[in-house]
């Protein structure tokens, strides 16, 4: 008897079908082969390396002023100076080192804020979704209230009152984002809670926390990776917007938002100050959005296929 066409059960051990793998693993397998993901990951890694390495390689101080060399145009433009590949700003500060330090800050704040909102939001969401009942209702009402205060209003209210520090900016970003994760993970936990393996664990007497941490979280969280990647991009934009509006981190800290806001005043005669840091920011966001899109598509394909 040929096992190829007639007996799927017999064929299984030799040829494990992806259908039986854990969701997270299947999504990852589908994502890994996506050209979008590869392109995004390479771009992201490149920018990350540049931002990290710049600390050691460039000895140029991003805040060091140099009035002789102010408004030096970037490479390729007329009158460019080789020691300033991206030119200098109105105070003669090196744009390349400023941009790279800006990238560093963006990375640092974005990654920290995303990680924190992911942890807080998914903890609330997993617990609420899994336990259900009154606790779920109360937690979800808190989420509703938090979500009904527009993030930008929350941010400018808090930052408009107190002096912005990186920690405060991160808390504002976390405050504005955690409810999204709470909602997303809640529906994941809700779906898992009625699964048979959860019933088996309950009959064994496993506690809620044990089931959530050991069984539900490893299944419900990986599919949310796409949201975290998109959010990382959103957090980064948000952080830059706050700096740009002048209520986030303040000059002379060279964040991308601060540099672009600065450069706007000199658009007429020194376009590079505002435009070039923005190109870096755009590439960073692009890399994240490409990875996010690949992850989201893989997730949708896996979830739709699973039904």
């Amino acid at each position: 008897m040929s096992s190829v066409t007639t007996n799927p059960a017999a064929a299984k051990p030799a040829q494990p079908s992806t259908r039986e793998l854990a969701m997270g693993r299947r999504i990852w397998l589908a994502t890994r082969s996506s050209p979008w993901f590869l392109m995004g990951a390479v771009l992201f890694a490149l920018l990350l390396i540049m931002a990290v390495v710049s600390v050691f390689v460039f000895q140029v101080d991003p805040t060091k002023m140099n009035f002789v060399d102010k408004f030096s145009p970037p490479m390729g433009a007329e009158g460019a100076k080789s020691q300033f590949p991206l030119g200098t700003d109105q105070l003669g500060r090196d744009m390349l080192s400023r941009t790279l330090v800006g990238l560093q800050i963006t990375f640092l704040i974005g990654l920290t804020a995303t990680a924190l909102s992911f942890i807080i939001g998914s903890a609330v969401g997993l617990y609420a979704g899994f336990v259900g009942g009154k606790i779920d209702q109360i937690l979800m009402r808190i989420v509703d209230i938090q979500m009904s205060i527009p993030p930008i209003i929350l941010a400018i209210t808090i930052l408009g009152l107190a002096r912005a520090t990186p920690a405060l900016v991160i808390s504002v970003l976390v405050l504005a984002t955690w409810p999204n994760y709470a909602r997303l993970t809640r529906s994941g936990a809700l779906a898992e809670r009625s699964q048979e393996y959860v019933r088996a664990a309950r009959v064994l007497g496993a506690s809620n926390i044990r089931i959530i941490l050991l069984m539900v979280a490893p299944i419900a969280l990986p599919p949310m990776a796409f949201a975290a990647v998109f959010d990382l991009a959103r957090m980064m934009i948000f952080e830059c917007v706050l700096d740009f509006l002048g209520i986030g981190l303040q000059p002379p800290t060279p964040t991308l938002g601060v540099i672009i806001a600065d450069g706007r005043k000199y658009l007429m005669n020194a376009w590079w100050i505002a435009v070039l840091p923005g190109v870096f920011l755009m590439l960073l966001l692009l890399s994240l959005n490409m990875m996010g899109t690949a992850l989201e598509r893989a997730r949708n394909a896996v979830f739709e296929g699973a039904k």
């Binding site: 007639t6 299984k12 494990p16 039986e20 048979e196 009959v203 007497g205």
Partner: protein, 616 residues
């Protein structure tokens, strides 16, 4: 010979995706005559469904037709242009699949969708006429309150009702041939029996030809004129139904017939005798158990409705016996299971475990008791966490309940794995790639590693094919003998229950309506519902019960609005006035049987099981 309707010549279909096309169907030729009922019989994976779809001109990538021709009344199906194909599909051949819920748009009323389809294939029909025609056919397939039903969404339909609607959808364009692919598979036995009778009725009234695709011999044995047996993409045998079943000429046919469920030809497993039972206190004693769910009403500003899932269940389970609880979907089996495993509290009544009332236990006592009462679940895939190794899954029981640690724990798990027939080398492997049968063994190992005294088996064998089922049942017999475990099976599969249970309890709408020994329940059913279940059960051998004599109509009433009297009264063939007004209690009927019926069937001639036990 009547006129030929459908003709398939030398049809081959292959998976043309890979570099070397993999054949799925190999040189098939067959024909269907007008008004004929042809059954395509074969195991899952034999290529039956691919054939069924190809007959509709439905061959999706990566499959492709590599040779052959399909004609309907001389008109080419495979080569038809889109418009012609649409006409063939709408007015020539209709298709009903196994999962009719997937045929309809879930957001639109069913009646409108069928009317839309009718107008798409018969553009001359007005919208009003189309709706009238749908109504007419809804009544023909006996959908109650047809007009009201037409305006409802597919999700409001029960499995049997949506199947009827799908049949209407397939036949509304006055189709000459209806392909029915595995239509009864997801349905409960009494509903499946109704659908088969509906097909017979439609064939007589409308003269439609049917092509019935199935892997279940009993389903078609009284219905099909002719059988075509398929195996590995080929037609291996063909012939008129009685001859083929009586004298199969190929191994494939023989196997299909041999694996078909039997109820009457087998003997029941030995049961505890009445004396034994009297001497022993029950392991588990359930008294007047009730559970009602409160569901908020959507059509009112305030207020809720009450769903009575379990309404006073009573039974005892004795040490070492196997009790089966049988019932159709919605009868409260799952709720009962949750109550027995203390995942939910009953509203009323008690569960006593070896004489102690679980309701009065502290949380700690209950936790300790869990080691003694374990559950083996139905779904071999969903019940095992995919991200845990097999050893981790099984050892979770020990981590929670046993002081064993490290190597000792591992040794214990490996020992148990060997006992249930799993290679201990699989300890560090993930479950992906294991067959359903092997996964079910993991489930069993997880439950018995704690050496429980009571095991609940919730449809444990239902998801397995017959080849995997038998060794697992043997495993249970062995475990039960060696450890004298008390087993409670919950199942809808009568043939299985017949094989494994020493006593049988029949459940209907949240209540046990009959309980007795395996032999008594199967050969001398007392409750009309038990008899209806038995007469609807598809078996290869002739049933001692005439399917038409006791075939119940309709579906169980909703557990929200229960009738005042007996819950079965409106479907019961022998119901009398008393049944409408008073609800019968579960009463002792004989030494070892109890029944909840005002007019138990004892007076009926006891069906002679032995005489009926022959095939064909």
């Amino acid at each position: 010979m009547t006129k030929e309707l459908l003709k398939v010549t030398d049809l081959s279909i292959a998976n043309v995706g890979p570099a070397t096309p993999r054949p799925i169907l190999k040189n098939l030729s067959l024909s269907v005559a007008e008004s004929e009922t042809l059954a395509i019989l074969g195991r899952s994976g034999a290529g039956k469904s691919v054939l069924g779809r190809a007959l509709m001109g439905w061959v999706d990538a990566p499959l492709g037709v590599t040779s052959g021709r399909i004609t309907l009344e001389g008109q080419d199906v495979l080569g038809a242009n889109p418009d012609a194909l649409r006409r063939i599909r709408g007015t020539g051949i209709g298709y009903v699949g196994a999962d009719p819920t997937r045929v309809f748009d879930p957001t639109l009323p069913v009646g409108r969708q069928i009317a839309d389809k009718y107008r798409a294939v018969r553009p001359e029909v007005s919208a009003k006429e189309a709706m009238e025609r749908v109504h007419e056919l809804f009544s023909l397939v006996r959908i109650p309150e047809a007009r009201h039903r037409m305006a409802e969404l597919p999700s409001k339909y029960s499995g049997g009702m949506i199947q009827r609607a799908a049949i209407v959808d397939a036949m509304i364009g006055e189709t000459k041939l209806v392909i029915a692919d595995n239509v009864t598979q997801p349905l409960d036995v009494t509903v499946a029996a109704q659908i088969i009778r509906l097909f017979q009725d439609l064939r007589e009234r409308l003269g439609t030809a049917f092509l019935f695709i199935t892997s279940s011999v009993p389903t078609i044995k009284d219905f099909a004129d002719r059988i075509v047996v398929m195996d590995q993409g080929e037609i291996v045998e063909e012939g008129p139904t009685p001859q083929l079943l009586a004298a199969p000429r190929t191994e494939a046919s023989e196997k299909l017939i041999a694996q078909s469920p039997r109820i009457w030809g087998t003997t029941a497993p030995e049961s505890l005798s009445a004396e034994d039972i009297r001497d022993m206190p029950p392991a588990l004693s359930i008294t007047a158990l009730r559970r009602t769910y409160k569901v908020p009403r959507k059509d009112k500003l305030f207020g809720s409705v009450f769903v009575q899932a379990v309404r006073g269940a009573d039974f005892d389970v004795y040490p070492g016996e196997s009790l089966a609880i049988v019932g159709e979907s919605g009868c409260g089996k799952s709720t009962l299971m949750r109550l027995l495993t203390w995942l939910e509290e009953p509203d009323d009544g008690s569960v006593q475990f070896h004489g102690k009332n679980v309701g009065s236990f502290t949380a700690r006592e209950r936790f300790d008791l869990r080691a003694q009462l374990q559950l083996v679940l139905q779904d071999p895939y969903g019940s095992i966490p995919a991200h845990w190794t097999i050893g981790r899954t099984i050892s979770e029981s020990l981590r929670l309940h046993s002081p064993l640690k490290g190597k000792a724990r591992r040794a214990r798990v490996e020992e148990t794995m060997a006992e249930v027939g799993l290679d201990p080398a699989l300890y560090d492997k993930l479950p992906s790639g294991l067959s359903a049968g092997q996964r079910q063994r993991i489930n069993v190992a997880r439950a018995i590693v704690l050496e429980p005294t009571v095991l609940l088996l919730d449809e444990t064998f239902s998801a397995l094919d017959p080849m995997e089922q038998t060794p697992l049942i043997e495993l249970f017999r062995k475990l039960q003998r060696e450890r004298s475990i008390t087993c409670i099976f919950i199942s809808h599969d009568l043939a299985l229950v017949r094989r494994v249970a020493s006593r049988v309890a029949v459940m209907y709408l949240g209540r046990i309506v009959e309980i007795g020994s395996n032999h008594n329940v199967f050969s001398r059913p007392l409750h009309p519902y038990t008899r209806a279940l038995l007469s609807a059960a598809p078996t290869i051998e002739d049933s001692p019960y005439d399917p038409n004599e006791c075939l119940v109509d309709g579906e169980p009433p909703s557990p929200i609005r229960l009738p005042k009297g007996c819950a079965f009264a409106d479907r019961c063939p022998v119901a009398q006035e008393a049944c409408m007004s008073s609800d019968p209690e579960l009463m002792r009927a004989s030494e070892r049987s109890r029944v909840a019926c005002h007019f138990p069937l004892a007076a009926l001639e006891p069906a002679s099981v032995k005489d009926a036990a022959h095939v064909g």
